[in-house]
C-alpha cells in the first residue's frame, strides 16, 4: 500500500513539474482554433527499451529486451509493446528460471497533444499478456518423515495476463529522436494454475506481491506523417 501511495504522489509531482514547465514555454497570442477529432495520425514512434539493454549487459542472471510502438492520433497515443525476459535465481540448493515473451496494448492520453515537437506527457492504461513462458525449478526438499529428495519441475507454454496504469514522458532531443520513460503500476495478474507457482513473470516481474511497479527508459525514433495542428484549449 505504501508503494501505491508513493506512486500516486510521484505521478502528481510529475504532472505538476512538467505542466508548470510547459506553461512557462508557451508562446503568447496563438491563433484561435477548435481541436476537432481527426483520425489521421501525426506520426509513428518506435522505441527501444534501454533499461532492458542495460540489465542484459550487466546482470548475468537477467536478459531483457523490449520495444515500444506508438501511433499519435489526435490527443491520444495508441501503444503496442513487445518484449522478451529471462530470469535465473540461484541460491544454495535452489535454482529457478523463467523465460518468455509478452506484449502490451493500450492507449495514453497525451497532455501535451498541442506540442509541435511531438513531445508527450501521458497517462493511460494497458492490457498485458505473457503470451508464452516457461518455468523451471529445482531444489532439495527434506522431510522428517518422508526423507530427502531433489524436486525438479518444468512447465512450458504457460500464459498470464495483467493490467497496467501507465504514465511517463517522451521528449524530443534531436530531429525525430526522443527519449523518455514509462512508469507502470501492474496489477490484476491472472494466469493458469500449474505445477510451478510462477515467481518471475516475463513483463510483470516478481509475483510475490499482488501489484508491481515498473520503470522503462526508452530511446525513440519518430516517423512524422504530418505537422501537429492542435493547440491548447485555453488558447482557443
Amino acid at each position: 500500500m505504501r508503494r501505491t501511495y508513493l506512486f500516486i504522489i510521484s505521478l502528481f509531482l510529475a504532472a505538476q513539474l512538467l505542466a508548470q514547465n510547459e506553461q512557462d514555454q508557451l508562446p503568447q497570442g496563438a491563433p484561435k482554433k477548435i481541436n476537432k477529432f481527426d483520425i489521421r495520425p501525426y506520426g509513428l514512434r518506435l522505441g527501444v527499451d534501454i533499461s532492458d539493454i542495460g540489465v542484459s549487459l550487466f546482470d548475468d542472471d537477467r536478459t531483457r529486451y523490449g520495444i515500444n510502438l506508438d501511433l499519435d492520433i489526435h490527443k491520444y497515443l495508441f501503444q503496442i509493446d513487445g518484449g522478451y525476459a529471462r530470469s535465473t535465481y540461484t541460491e544454495e540448493d535452489l535454482i529457478y528460471r523463467s523465460e518468455g515473451v509478452f506484449y502490451r496494448v493500450g492507449i495514453d492520453y497525451n497532455f501535451m497533444y498541442f506540442n509541435e515537437q511531438a513531445s508527450a506527457i501521458f497517462l493511460g492504461a494497458r492490457y498485458a499478456n505473457a503470451v508464452t513462458y516457461d518455468d523451471e525449478i529445482a531444489f532439495v526438499l527434506g522431510d522428517p518423515i518422508f526423507g530427502s529428495e531433489i524436486i525438479r519441475s518444468e512447465v512450458e507454454n504457460r500464459s498470464a495476463n495483467w493490467l497496467e496504469i501507465t504514465t511517463g514522458i517522451k521528449a524530443r532531443v534531436l530531429e525525430n529522436i526522443f527519449i523518455g520513460f514509462t512508469a507502470r503500476y501492474k496489477f490484476r495478474r491472472r494466469g493458469n494454475r500449474d505445477q510451478i507457482v510462477t515467481f518471475d513473470l516475463p513483463g510483470f516481474g516478481r509475483t510475490d506481491r499482488m501489484a508491481n511497479l515498473g520503470l522503462n527508459y526508452y530511446v525513440y525514433y519518430r516517423l512524422p506523417f504530418r505537422k501537429k495542428d492542435l493547440i491548447r484549449p485555453d488558447r482557443n
Binding site: 518422508f146 511497479l213 527508459y217
Partner: protein, 156 residues
C-alpha cells in the same frame, strides 16, 4: 527542453527508487498436513477421534497415538514426493471392538519460491478422496493452508 528533461528523469528516478524497496517476509501460507475432524453421525456434533493409532503403510512413524485419542482434530502429514497418500486408522468402534479403516487421498503438489533468500516452498491443493472405508467422508477445504482449518470431515 533541458529543464523539462532533467525534471522528468528526476521524477523517474524517484518512482524507481521507492518502487524497488523490498520488505522480505519469509512466512508462507502452505502446510503439508491434512487436518481431519470427526463428526458423530447421530448427533452431528464434533467428537473425539478415539483412534489408537493412525499411520501410513510403509512408514515407521505413527501420526496419531492413543495419547491423541481425546483430540477433536488430527493432523496427517502428506508425502511431498507423491500425489497420493494412504492412511490406516486403528481404534475401537461403538461396540468397543477394534476396527480398521483406510482412506486414500489424492492431492496436487505445486512448487514455488517464497523469495530467493527465503527459499523454496510447496503448496498442496486439490485434496480429494480416492477411496475410503469410512461410512461418510467429506473434503470441505481442498487446499492445505492452515493448521486450524479443517480439510476433511469424517462422519462415524
Amino acid at each position: 527542453m533541458k529543464d523539462f528533461l532533467l525534471k522528468g528523469i528526476l521524477v523517474g528516478i524517484l518512482i524507481f527508487t521507492f518502487g524497488c524497496r523490498d520488505d522480505t517476509d519469509c512466512s508462507t501460507s502452505s502446510i503439508n498436513f491434512i487436518s481431519l475432524s470427526f463428526i458423530d453421525s447421530g448427533t452431528f456434533e464434533v467428537r473425539q477421534s478415539n483412534f489408537d493409532s493412525v499411520f501410513a503403510p510403509g512408514f515407521d512413524t505413527l501420526f496419531v497415538t492413543q495419547a491423541d485419542s481425546l483430540d477433536t482434530l488430527i493432523l496427517l502429514p502428506v508425502n511431498p514426493f507423491e500425489t497420493e497418500a494412504t492412511y490406516v486408522f486403528v481404534g475401537p468402534d461403538r461396540n468397543e471392538e477394534i476396527r480398521i479403516d483406510t482412506v486414500v487421498f489424492s492431492y496436487f503438489p505445486r512448487q514455488g519460491i517464497i523469495t530467493p533468500e527465503c527459499g523454496p516452498t510447496q503448496f498442496f491443493d486439490d485434496l480429494d478422496t480416492i477411496s475410503t472405508t469410512f461410512d461418510s467422508l467429506v473434503v470441505v477445504q481442498p487446499r492445505l493452508r492452515d493448521f486450524n482449518a479443517t480439510n476433511v470431515l469424517i462422519y462415524n
